[in-house]
Symmetry: C2
Subunit: 215 residues, 2 copies
DNA sequence: TAATATTTTGACCGTTTGGTAAACATTGCA
DNA sequence: TGCAATGTTTACCAAACGGTCAAAATATTA
């Protein structure tokens, strides 16, 4: 029985280990060089195996990338999904910012992989953007709009609110080098995420509390 | 006299035209595929000339990229430089956001070129980040801090304030595909920049007006 | 342990890539 | 007009690239 077929049926211990090693290495490489900027050799070396050996587990470079993106999209929107329509608006938004910042801190490579993909025109995930992503955002935007209608949140454009939270939080993963360079060795350390959280919470909670006029 | 030497002295009309054509084409290509993802052939084709012809004007692919980045950095920080310490804090911040949004709208390729560079670890511009950029940000951060001290602006971390403005405005250039996909054909049109401006101004002006407690 | 299935390797292939060399064409000017 | 400087093209190269193949090595199991 060939390995190809086997993988779809039963997976060996070695298969499981090596595929995971490859994906981990590929995430590192793809996220820092983009798809075209990464070579199979680079990934193989990072995974500690030869190129043909790697290609025994994944038929093409594209396959690896596709799987990584697929996995990513699966969990990337969890924080947004976690917004509860019945919760307190400002508390929900604060939690959302928190969770997104934690993801930027704990999964910066995933963030950069995504950013690379979008930056280059999202050739492989346009469907996901226009389908599931749009639907989820539409749903949560309606929740936010309802909060505003009920006077529990300042009236504002829910889509641009979501965009701005994406932007500000992912910035700390995607533009990490710049953030560190500007903050310098002192303030660029581990504390920067807490400083960011404090600032963003202040900005959003003050900027969005009801009683504030808005568009 | 060789062309190489001539370029440093007097530039022919043809030289001027072709170098400009090449840079324009290269900006388009580099900004959407990154450095390694772009090929000289692609740039040459976009510029409407043959590869050797292009290489007559620029010795290497790297040279083109370096020049583009150099030009970019030169104007990229103009909006930040334009912040006047003696102006009204909220008005200055509003203008800054406006200008940055306009740049995202009018020069999205430059924004993406920069984003690509930072995302991939800023290998070619670390010096610029740690030097001139950091100095400028330090200077303006002090201005902002002073505003807070004077009670004309809510106390806040000036660095993260600047980061958040960078992030939210550049987002509309760098993540354009995603923004369009989510907003859909109706709201994704030309109006999205004005909607964004309205939202961001509300957020920042309300979130930062003095009288607000902060860290 | 023997037989079988799986895993790893080295040698290789066609294509693409960045870049060169030299011949050819064009332009600008005395 | 003639001639040198400038500009363009054709043909090419070596290295890097994505990927294949068959044989060797290892692991699994009857």
């Amino acid at each position: 029985m060939k390995a190809r077929a086997a993988r779809t049926q039963r997976r060996t211990r070695i298969q499981e280990e090596n595929e995971e090693r490859i994906l981990k290495a590929a995430l590192e490489v793809f996220s820092t060089h983009g798809f075209r900027g990464s070579t199979i050799d680079q990934i193989a070396e990072a995974a500690g195996m030869s190129k043909p050996n790697l290609l025994y587990y994944f038929r093409t470079k594209d396959d690896i990338h596709r799987l990584l993106i697929e996995r990513l999209l699966d969990t990337w929107l969890d924080p947004l999904r976690a917004i509860r329509p019945r919760g307190d608006p400002l508390a929900e938004i604060r939690s959302y910012i928190r969770r997104k910042l934690e993801m930027a801190r704990d999964y910066p490579r995933e963030s950069r992989l995504f950013a690379n993909e979008i930056l280059q025109g999202a050739p492989r995930i346009t469907d996901a953007l226009e389908g599931p992503l749009k639907r989820l955002v539409d749903e949560k935007a309606e929740v936010i709009r309802q909060w505003s209608r009920e006077g529990r949140l300042a009236p504002c454009d829910p889509y641009h609110l979501i965009f701005s939270i994406w932007a500000t939080t992912q910035h700390y993963a995607d533009f990490d080098v710049q953030v560190r360079a500007v903050l310098g060795p002192d303030r660029g350390g581990d504390g920067r995420f807490e400083d960011a959280a404090r600032f963003l919470e202040q900005l959003y909670l003050e900027g969005l509390k009801s009683g504030t006029k808005g568009g």
